[in-house]
């Protein structure tokens, strides 16, 4: 009887602890960086073929379907983190989970390394030049404590270190979706809620405007 109570109590104590989960299991410590440095893009290319990533992400990592995601040129550290987050279910996406669940850390790193070598899509030439959007991109909005997007994502939107992704040349719908997911709290793998705090303060109109600023040319028009 006493043993059962003890066991029960121990289990009960675990429950609150179970709520205290980090938003991502990935840390960019020396070990992870070594893994990324030793990743092999050639192995990654083979994996991309065998896992058939091109079905959604296009042959060169630039998707033909505007509802999918461009991953060409994505920094390997960011790609590795997202893949691992999908695997750990820190980022919720059934399709991606099914795609990566059989892979180990080294293979994820190889894939990330391969896609990092590909040329990323460019932002549309006729990109949004609305002054309100440009202000958000380069100066932010101090009143709402919205930082300039460029401060983390780079002046040309080509991204920053580790988990600050490139935005320029991404699919427009995906950019909107990402910001909406951060805004609603449906996506939570931004460590310390860095994107959630910003997205919460953005209006839908601003989200559309920012997406239009960074987005790649619409594929149909490119033909």
């Amino acid at each position: 009887m006493l043993r059962s109570i003890t066991l029960f109590a121990a289990l009960a104590l675990l429950i609150p602890a179970a709520g205290a989960e980090p938003s991502s299991a990935v840390a960019f410590d020396a070990a992870t960086l070594r893994l990324l440095a030793e990743a092999d893009p050639v192995r990654g290319e083979e994996l991309a073929k065998s896992e058939r990533c091109h079905r959604c992400h296009g042959d060169a990592g630039v998707s033909e379907d505007p509802d999918d995601i461009n991953i060409a040129g994505m920094s390997s550290s960011y790609a590795y983190k997202q893949l691992t987050d999908y695997l750990d279910k820190k980022r919720d996406n059934r399709d991606m989970y099914k795609s990566v669940r059989e892979l180990d850390a080294r293979q994820l790193a190889d894939l990330a390394a391969w896609y990092a070598t590909l040329e990323s899509a460019q932002p549309a030439p006729e990109r949004n030049r609305d002054p309100a959007v440009l202000r958000l991109v380069f100066k932010g909005d101090p009143e709402r404590m919205i930082k300039a997007c460029a401060s983390c994502h780079g002046r040309k939107g080509r991204g920053g270190q580790f988990d600050h992704p490139a935005l320029a040349g991404q699919q427009r719908a995906y950019l909107v979706l990402s910001l909406d997911e951060f805004k609603e709290g449906d996506r939570e793998n931004d460590i310390y809620a860095r994107m959630r705090h910003i997205a919460e303060a953005l209006t839908e109109e601003e989200i559309e405007g920012l997406a239009a600023y960074y987005a790649a040319a619409v594929q149909e028009e490119a033909q």
Binding site: D29, A30, K139, G140, P142, E143, Q161
Partner: protein, 540 residues
């Protein structure tokens, strides 16, 4: 005249310093314009921070090192009246420093070393930047060796004689620079270079900042020594008088040698990796190092009073007007002492264990070091240049009037630039920012002072251009300079006998080393005794 074999090296070295100065002054104007917000097209954090990094390195490391070394060589040969100890070695050291500057310039100018002149890790610059910095310092060590050897040989050849004050100070500076630069060299060679090359994965930022603090305070005395040497040994005679006390000059130099290095923790007051007890110990030393400056102030002003009264000045303050203000050395010293007073007061706030918190890493600090370094120290560099150029080139100074105007513009520009910065710091503006995207309440408070920056910057640029113009035109001046010898000041009371401790530096060197072990020994050792976590490289 065998003591002019240093003339060419001196002149070239000081020119390198002044060219670096001009380039840095131009960058400074870009920076204040960028901050003003008046020209949106030039607003760019990457350009701004590359500029600040280059500006800082040029002003703080290149102008200074090459000027101190150049002035030091000429002071050694003219005060001791003997040739350089080893001329090829002196040139080699100079060449090594030049190589270092050129190597570091490439990443600096291409935005790959925008880590500011303090290069705190874990922001990582291109390895060539760190290697270049190490070469620059290593080159200066040859100068240190030359100064020590020249003084030792002179003493051997003149047993019992008094080492000329100018050389005593120069050698004290050389020893002090060697010991203090060890800190940054250890950081760069054992931490930053291997880490930036990828040979080690992580760097302990606490250890790096501790080693840098070892250098960080005394380096400003390395810069300041020539200003004091000029004030003690050139100014009194230029003003038409004598040096009030040769002995107090030696004591001031000795105190600077002993107290300026083991006090670096006042730069680390706000850092969590050093215990308060050590910071307290360093604070006491920091207040002691104010004493030689206060002594210098008295001695120099007293010397000026002697000169003023010799020239007929009467009454309590009448001697001030009687001084030969048309002599650039006198004007520079007067303006320099004013800036030293203001900047020194600010320094006492910074040194204060409990008041430092109010100003740490705010724009006050930027105001402080521009006032005291770019102000006092650099205006004396100008004075040294105006004094030495005619002797080094054999040509009269191109224009005394332009020189005086240049000095006054520098003084005015410096006050306009730095006094608002002191206010901005108290009003909470952080340093090292390229824009002010903060709450409107804060930013509005700062607006007026921000604009003062531009005015100050432009005045200083004009002054900088004038300096280079006067020095350059002196080379081609048709009029010959007749007084080619450096005229060192004589003491008011002739030095008949000098205590050994005031004529040598060996004892004081040992004292510094002991003091250093006491104040830095355990604080550095602790990093090897406790389990620390290093940090991986980060780009800007």
């Amino acid at each position: 005249m065998d003591h002019t074999d240093s003339a060419r090296l001196s002149l070239i070295s000081m020119w390198v310093g002044f060219i670096a100065f001009l380039a840095a002054a131009i960058l400074g104007v870009y920076q204040v314009l960028e901050r003003s917000g008046l020209i949106p097209a030039i607003e760019s954090p990457s350009l701004y921070f590359a500029s600040v990094s280059t500006h800082g390195v040029l002003m703080g490391f290149v102008l200074t090192t090459f000027l101190v070394v150049g002035f030091g060589y000429y002071t050694a040969t003219t005060s001791l009246k003997q040739p350089l100890w080893n001329k090829p070695l002196a040139w080699f050291g100079f060449g090594l420093s030049i190589a270092g500057v050129l190597l570091a310039a490439v990443p600096l100018l291409t935005g790959q070393a925008s880590v500011l002149y303090t290069f705190y890790p874990p922001l990582r610059a291109h390895p060539a930047f760190y290697i270049g910095a190490a070469l620059l310092v290593a080159g200066s060590w040859f100068w240190c060796l030359e100064m020590v050897m020249m003084m030792a040989i002179w003493k051997r050849d003149h047993p019992g004689d008094t080492v000329p004050l100018a050389m005593y100070g120069t050698t004290a500076n050389a020893i002090m620079w060697f010991i203090t630069s060890l800190g940054v060299m250890l950081e760069v060679i054992f931490q930053l270079i291997p880490w930036s090359l990828g040979l080690v994965d992580t760097v302990d930022v606490g250890l790096a900042r501790t080693l840098f603090s070892w250098t960080l305070h005394a380096i400003v005395y390395f810069w300041l020594f020539p200003a004091y040497i000029a004030m003690y040994t050139l100014l009194p005679r230029a003003a038409g008088g004598k040096l009030f006390s040769d002995q107090m000059g030696r004591i001031a130099f000795i105190m600077l040698l002993v107290f300026s290095i083991p006090i670096g923790f006042h730069h680390l007051y706000m850092d969590p990796f050093q215990a308060a007890g050590w910071k307290f110990l360093h604070m006491i030393g920091t207040f002691m190092v104010a004493v030689p400056t206060l002594i210098t102030g008295f001695t120099i002003i007293a010397s000026l009073e002697v000169a003023g009264r010799l020239r007929g000045g009467k009454g309590l303050l009448g001697w001030i007007a009687a001084l030969p203000w048309s002599n650039p050395m006198v004007t520079a010293a007067g303006l320099g002492l004013l800036m030293l007073t203001l900047g020194g007061f600010g320094g006492m706030i910074n040194a204060s264990y409990s008041m430092n918190a109010m100003v740490h890493n705010t724009q006050w600090v930027t105001g402080h070091f521009h006032l005291i370094f770019a102000g006092t120290t650099v205006i004396m560099y100008f004075a040294i240049a105006y004094y030495l150029w005619p002797k080094l080139t054999g040509r009269r100074l191109y224009s005394n009037t332009l020189a005086l105007t240049q000095l006054w513009l520098w003084f005015i520009g410096m006050l306009v630039l730095t006094l608002p910065w002191h206010y901005l710091g108290i009003a909470g503006q952080p340093r090292r920012i390229s824009s002010t995207p903060y709450d409107a309440v804060l930013v509005q408070q700062w607006d007026a002072s921000e604009l003062a920056m531009i005015v100050g910057g432009f005045i200083l640029l004009i002054s900088a251009l004038m300096l280079i113009y006067v020095l350059a035109r002196t080379h081609g001046n048709s009029q010959q300079e007749t007084s080619l010898a450096v005229e060192y000041a004589e003491p008011l009371h002739p030095v008949l006998r000098i205590p050994r401790l005031l004529n040598g530096l060996a004892f004081w060197t040992v004292l510094v080393v002991v003091y250093m072990v006491a104040s830095y020994g355990y604080p550095i050792l602790q990093f090897f005794l406790m389990e620390t976590h290093g940090t991986v490289p980060w780009s800007i």
